[in-house]
C-alpha cells in the first residue's frame, strides 16, 4: 500500500500544472460549500435571534377551568357561565416550582409573571395596554429590557411603570410623571414613569406596560401565584426537549416556542433545504471534475499500466494507485478550499454582532471538517470508475500502443 501511495503521489507531481488546476477546481467547490454553510447557518441564527431572541423559549401557563354549569337534579343544564375574555386561571403553586425549574439543565433564566389588560389614562387621553408584572431584579430575564432602555431605569419597583417610546410619545409623557392604570378587574393605581424602552417592535413600543409583580397583584387581584412562567434557555433549539423534561418534572403544561411557530420553522427548513441543494451541486461538480481528470489520466497512462501489469502488479494495485490519486486530490483540494473559506469568512463580524443590513456569515458554521470529509469521500467515489477502467487494461494491448 505504501508503494501504491508513492506511485500515486509521483503521478500527481509528474504533471504539477494539471494537478494544481484539478486541486484548485476542487478547492473552489469546497469554498462554495463552506461559504454556503456559513451563510445559511448564519442567516438561520440571525432570523432566529431577531424573531425568537426576545421571546420566552418555554412558557408555562395555568390551564383555564371549564366554564361553570348549573345542572338540575334531572340532569338538565340550567345555567352556563360564559367564558370571559380575561384570563382568570393562576399558577397558584408557582413559588414551589420555580427553584426546581431553575435547576433544569440548559435553563438560563426563569421569570414568573402576572399578565393582563388595562387602560392607561393621562389627562384626557386613554390608551389600552397589555400589562406585565415582573419580579424585581428579573426585568431582563426574557426580553432584554435593559438593552432597550432609552431613558430611565430598567428596575420596576412598586408604584413604578416602564412604557414603550411610542406610547410615551402618544401620551406626551416624560420620565417622572404619573399615569393612572386601571386593570380589566377595575382596580386602578397611580404609577410613576420610571423607564422608557424602544425595541423597534410597534406592538411592544406602543401598547406594553411593565410594572412590578406586587403592583400587578394588586391590579389583577391576585394575592398569590402568577399567570405564567417564562423560561429562557441557553440553546433555543433545545426548547422541545427541555419543555418535555419540565413537564415530566412538574406536571405543568410547559409549551416550547416552536409550538405555533410552524411557519418560521418551515421557512428555516426551506432555507436549509436550499443550502443542501447548493452544497450537493458543489459536491457533484467536484466528483465530475475528479472523475473526468482521472479518466483522462487513465487513458494517457495505459501503456504504463500495461508495463506495471507485465511486471507483476495486480489489478488491485492498479486500482489502489488511481483511487489514491482521487483521495489525495480530494484531500488537498478539501484542505485548500476549507482554509480559503475560513480566511474569507474571517473579516465578517461574529454572529453576536449581526445587525440588519449585514451579510450574516457565521464563521463557526462553515462545516469545515464535513466539507473536507465529504470531498475526500466524493473524490474517492469519483475515482472508482477510472480506477476500475485502469485495472481492466489488457497489458498486451496497452504495451503495444
Amino acid at each position: 500500500m505504501l508503494y501504491g501511495l508513492k506511485i500515486a503521489t509521483r503521478y500527481l507531481t509528474a504533471n504539477k500544472a494539471q494537478t494544481a488546476l484539478l486541486v484548485a477546481g476542487v478547492a473552489v467547490g469546497v469554498f462554495i460549500f463552506i461559504f454556503m454553510s456559513a451563510l445559511i447557518g448564519g442567516l438561520a441564527e440571525f432570523i432566529l435571534s431577531r424573531t425568537v431572541g426576545d421571546l420566552s423559549h418555554i412558557t408555562i401557563e395555568a390551564e383555564t377551568d371549564d366554564p361553570a354549569l348549573l345542572i338540575s337534579p334531572e340532569g338538565h343544564v340550567l345555567v352556563v357561565a360564559e367564558r370571559g375574555r380575561t384570563r382568570t386561571a393562576t399558577l397558584a403553586e408557582a413559588a414551589t416550582w420555580l427553584p426546581l425549574i431553575e435547576e433544569v439543565s440548559g435553563v438560563r433564566a426563569v421569570s414568573p409573571q402576572i399578565t393582563g389588560a388595562g387602560f392607561l389614562t393621562r389627562g384626557a387621553q386613554v390608551a389600552q395596554v397589555s400589562v406585565t408584572g415582573l419580579e424585581l431584579g428579573r426585568e431582563s430575564a426574557i426580553l432584554d429590557l435593559a438593552g432597550y432602555m432609552v431613558d430611565g431605569d430598567v428596575r420596576v419597583g412598586p408604584g413604578l411603570i416602564s412604557l414603550g417610546r411610542d406610547l410615551v410619545d402618544d401620551l406626551a409623557l416624560s420620565l417622572g410623571q404619573t399615569v393612572r392604570l386601571e386593570s380589566s378587574k377595575g382596580v386602578a393605581a397611580i404609577l410613576t414613569l420610571s423607564g422608557i424602552f424602544e425595541t423597534g417592535n410597534g406592538a411592544m413600543d406602543g401598547a406594553r406596560a411593565f410594572v412590578s409583580l406586587s403592583t400587578a397583584r394588586t391590579l389583577f387581584e391576585m394575592p398569590q401565584g402568577v399567570s405564567q412562567i417564562e423560561i429562557k434557555l441557553n440553546d433555543l433549539n433545545a426548547a422541545d426537549a427541555t419543555a418535555l423534561r419540565i413537564r415530566a418534572l412538574t406536571g405543568l403544561d410547559a409549551v416550547p416556542w416552536t409550538d405555533g411557530a410552524e411557519q418560521l420553522m418551515e421557512a428555516l427548513n426551506a432555507q436549509a433545504q436550499t443550502g443542501y441543494f447548493l452544497k450537493t451541486f458543489a459536491l457533484i461538480t467536484i466528483v465530475i471534475g475528479v472523475a473526468s481528470a482521472l479518466l483522462l489520466s487513465t487513458y494517457r497512462r495505459r501503456p504504463e499500466i500495461g508495463i506495471m501489469r507485465a511486471m507483476g502488479a495486480g489489478r488491485g494495485f492498479v486500482l489502489f494507485v488511481f483511487v489514491t490519486q482521487g483521495a489525495l486530490i480530494g484531500l488537498m483540494g478539501g484542505i485548500t478550499g476549507a482554509a480559503l473559506g475560513y480566511l474569507a469568512l474571517l473579516p465578517f463580524p461574529p454572529r453576536e454582532a449581526f445587525r440588519p443590513g449585514m451579510l450574516p456569515l457565521d464563521i463557526t458554521q462553515g462545516s469545515y471538517g464535513l466539507a473536507v470529509t465529504l470531498t475526500v469521500i466524493g473524490a474517492i467515489l469519483a475515482s472508482i470508475l477510472p480506477a476500475r477502467s485502469a485495472a481492466r487494461v489488457d497489458p498486451v494491448t496497452a504495451i503495444g500502443q
Binding site: 500500500m1 505504501l2 508503494y3 501504491g4 508513492k6 509521483r10 503521478y11 509528474a14 501503456p303 504504463e304 508495463i307 506495471m308 501489469r309 507485465a310 511486471m311 507483476g312 502488479a313 495486480g314 489489478r315 494495485f317 497489458p395 498486451v396 504495451i399
Partner: protein, 225 residues
C-alpha cells in the same frame, strides 16, 4: 539440465468467424533451465504471440503450457500475476520504462510491487544490477535523460531484478545501433553464463541470433527448426 517449460499443441486464434486469424497452429516447444535461445522467423510468424503466451500475459485458444511444474493455462489472473512477478522477466523492443521514475526506481519496481514498499535490500540489488549494466553514474537519473542504449540496459536490469528463471526478450536490440545492440547482448550472455538465467530472445537479426547457443525458427505458427 532440467526442463524449465514445455508447451504442446499451442493454438492461438484472434477474432471469430470469417475474420478469425490463426496465428499459432499447434506449436510445441520446450526450454531447459539455463538455455539461451533465439526465436527466429519472419514477421507474422507468431513469435510475439508465443512470447506473450509464455509470459503469461495472454492465454492460448488451446494447448498446454507447463512451467516449473505448474499449469499456466489453468491458473487464474492473480496466480499468473504473482507467478510472472517471481519467475519471468521481460525486455521489450521499446524499453517500456516508467517515464516519471528514475533508473533505479524502474529497476526495483518488480520487487517493490511485491513487497509493497521499496526496501533497502531492493535498492542495493538495483544499484548492483545497474552498475553491472555500466550505469553506475546514471542510477538516479530520470529515464527521460537516458540514451536509447542506456534505457534498454535499464530494462534488462529490471527484468533481472527478481532473479527470474526465464527472461523473455522481444527484439531487445531492434531499436538500437549496432554498438549498443552488441553491448546489450554481451550483458545478456554474461548473465546467462554466470547466473544460469534462461533467455528466449525474439530477433530478426542473425548476428544477434548467432550469440545464442540455440536457434528456434517459427514459421506459419509452428516450430520449423
Amino acid at each position: 539440465m532440467s526442463t524449465l517449460l514445455e508447451v504442446r499443441d499451442l493454438v492461438k486464434t484472434y477474432g471469430t468467424g470469417e475474420a478469425a486469424t490463426r496465428v499459432l497452429r499447434g506449436l510445441s516447444l520446450h526450454l531447459d533451465t539455463g538455455e539461451m535461445a533465439a526465436l527466429l522467423g519472419p514477421s507474422g510468424s507468431g513469435k510475439s504471440t508465443l512470447l506473450t503466451i509464455l509470459g503469461t500475459l495472454m492465454k492460448p485458444t488451446s494447448g498446454s503450457y507447463i512451467m516449473l511444474g505448474q499449469d499456466m493455462i489453468a491458473a487464474d489472473d492473480t496466480a499468473l500475476t504473482d507467478f510472472r512477478n517471481a519467475h519471468i522477466g521481460f525486455v521489450f523492443q521499446f524499453h517500456n520504462l516508467l517515464p516519471d521514475f528514475t533508473a533505479l526506481e524502474n529497476v526495483i519496481f518488480p520487487t517493490a510491487v511485491r513487497e509493497g514498499r521499496e526496501t533497502p535490500q531492493a535498492r542495493d540489488r538495483g544499484r548492483v544490477l545497474l552498475t553491472r549494466m555500466g550505469l553506475a553514474e546514471r542510477i538516479d537519473f530520470p529515464t527521460a535523460k537516458l540514451s536509447g542504449g542506456q534505457k534498454q540496459r535499464v530494462a534488462v536490469a529490471r527484468a533481472l531484478m527478481n532473479s527470474p528463471e526465464l527472461v523473455l526478450a522481444d527484439e531487445p536490440t531492434g531499436n538500437l545501433d549496432r554498438a549498443s545492440a552488441m553491448q546489450v547482448m554481451d550483458l545478456i550472455s554474461e548473465i546467462n553464463r554466470e547466473e544460469g538465467t534462461t533467455f528466449l530472445i525474439s530477433t530478426h537479426d542473425e548476428k544477434i541470433a548467432a550469440v545464442c547457443r540455440r536457434q528456434i525458427v517459427v514459421g506459419d505458427g509452428v516450430v520449423t527448426g
